[in-house]
Amino acid sequence: MTVSVTPANFSFVDFDAELIRRIGDGLLEVLGIDRPVHVEVDETTPLGRVRTEIGDTITVRVESGAFEDSRKPRQQSDEATTANLGRALLRARDRISGGFGEAPADDELSLRQIAAWETYCVGRLARMGVPVNQQRWKYNFRNRHGFTDVADAAFERIWASDGLTWGELETVSLEGAGTPS
Amino acid sequence: MADPYKPRAPFAPWDRRQLPGLFDVEETARRVGNYKWAEMKLFEALGGWVATVPELDVKMRLGTHCYHHAWHAELWHKRLPELREMNPDRLTQPANDAMVQFVAALTEPEAPELTIEKLVGVYRVFIPHFISAYTFHMNNTSEITDAPTIRTLKLALQDEFEDWRDGEMMLQSLIETPEEVDRAAAHQAKLEKLILAAGGIAGPGSIGGN
């Protein structure tokens, strides 16, 4: 399976479509995803949102800030590209591979649920060797679950987990937020 | 309870302060004016250097120490009118021309690679000379007539000791090679010679002797 990227050439940012493709190919192999992936970069905005649509092809719509080197505006960052594309593809894989059937659609996820799922994705990426700052994700988790010891314990559990189902993830997240299901 | 009307000694048995002191009002005012001038030059240099040093921890310490020395200058400024000098600026003077030359050499380094020289000048030369001059003054002035100066000296000395320790530790952490030891020593020697010619912060006699 391969990755395609649009646009092929960038005019607002100094990004390299070929580099995005190579990073995407590498991720597909590591993550064992067997569907084609199309990455569509919106270079008109510096925001960094990433949206994914799953069909025969997985389409990842990325705002340019997600692949940008925050130290050098408009330049691409290998690390950011890997981490942010990796997160999107892991979420897609979770949905495809089962166990996440009852997860709400992306647009319907609450901020707390997004934070829990992101934590689950980034924890796995970290174990694959992708450089990430754990404290950044802990801060995000705390913002959505509370600045408490209970929330921190939930974060650690999710971060260290593999093979969770949506139900299991949601249970730990709700416990972390102090509202057990 | 003891009889409150019973006569008591004006100086308690444990109060051993003495009246005599080495400095009269005029000499004290002269020294205080020199201190103020030197503290001003120091806080101005520290403030100016903040932008020139790339080391973040050093940058923050210089900003903090800048205020310490500005505060000392302010304390000396307020002391001058109490020493019959109603125009504090008249006595806000360097001890002599050699002291001006010393400050010019101290503040010369600007390049970002010269943090060692900047810190050596302040923490291995200037501040040790403040400590010695202030200590000499504190130990030799009249403990009774000049108590306000002693109080200011003590407050300033507390900062000087702490700033010296901060500076010395920053220097030890920055000096990593024998060549840098030599650099630091050479700059220290150059500045020491200049302040030797000046005779110290308050000129000859800063720590007694002549």
Binding site: G48, N133, Y139 | F43, G47, Y67, H68, H77
Partner: protein
């Protein structure tokens, strides 16, 4: 060491990457002119924003480098002007005090950034704040630094304090409140000195206030700070009042900020059109 230090010589370690306001403004991308479906309902930094954590981290880093430049600016004012002839002794003492305050703010910002998961130098450093601290007239410098820059700091800290409060972050709200107290003092310092030094020189006062207005517009960062919900940072009217800004002055800043927002949008539309044109031609 020379008097008047150029902005491009500000010393930093290898973690930092500095960019000028001009470079920053040259970026043709803008979320402000996106179509409605792509644009968030509000840009105001609030925990309810989906990207709130990252936006707060980015702003915190902006505060961190801003505090470094404010420290450098206050320090340079201690050094750049001769006592008595160019700047009063007491003004320089205030600037030394401010240098200490800003040094503490850098320390606080480093700790908060660590808490939020941000590395030192993770974001580009815009050097615009120090640029406003480069004037060779101490009165203009006070207008630029103490009234415009520190005024911006009041707006930023108020936004961050509210963010920390709503999110329940025990450190953010606490620290921002302390820093806010210092900034109100600094603005007041600037307002007092501006009045005192220009008491008998209305021409100089006018010039200083004009300069402040220019800096205020620059510090609106193309609409990053204004009353509009399109701006991430709001105008902290109450704290500005405490710091000695008159109602008229606050209104002026509000107008200037909104104008900056509109100009930024117009600029972005033009820059995007030019970028597309250039790309098509090549």
């Amino acid at each position: 060491m020379r008097k008047f230090f150029p902005v491009d010589s500000l010393a930093r370690d290898s973690r930092f990457n500095q960019i000028t306001m001009k470079q920053s403004q040259a970026d043709p991308r803008s979320a402000l002119i996106a179509t409605e479906e792509k644009r968030p309902k509000t840009n105001r930094l609030q925990p309810s924003r989906a990207d709130a954590s990252d936006a707060a981290r980015s702003l915190m880093h902006g505060i961190f480098v801003g505090e470094i430049q404010a420290l450098e600016g206050a320090g340079r004012t201690c050094h750049d002007f001769e006592t008595g002839t160019e700047a009063p002794f007491a003004l320089k003492l205030d600037m030394a005090r401010q240098a200490w305050d800003e040094a503490r703010h850098v320390e606080i910002s480093v700790k908060l950034s660590e808490w939020m998961g941000t590395e030192i130098g993770q974001y580009a450093e815009n050097t615009v704040l120090f640029e406003a601290a480069c004037s060779t007239d101490p009165v203009l410098r006070l207008a630029g630094v103490n009234r415009a820059l520190e005024g911006l700091a009041i707006d930023v800290f108020t936004t961050m304090k509210e963010f920390g409060d709503i999110a329940g972050d025990p450190f953010l709200e606490f620290c921002e409140d302390w820093m806010l107290a210092d900034e109100v003092t600094h603005v007041k310092m600037g307002s007092d000195w501006l009045r005192r030094i220009t008491e008998n020189d209305p021409e100089r006062r006018k010039k200083a206030l004009e300069f402040q207005s220019v800096v205020d517009k620059i510090f609106s960062f193309g609409g990053t700070r204004s009353d509009s919900q399109e701006s991430p940072i709001g105008l902290a009217r109450r704290f500005r009042e405490l710091a000695g800004f008159s109602d008229d002055e606050v209104e002026d800043i509000a107008d200037v900020s909104l104008r900056a927002l509109e100009e930024r949008k117009a600029f972005a539309r033009q820059a995007q059109a030019e970028a597309v044109e250039q790309f098509s031609a090549s």
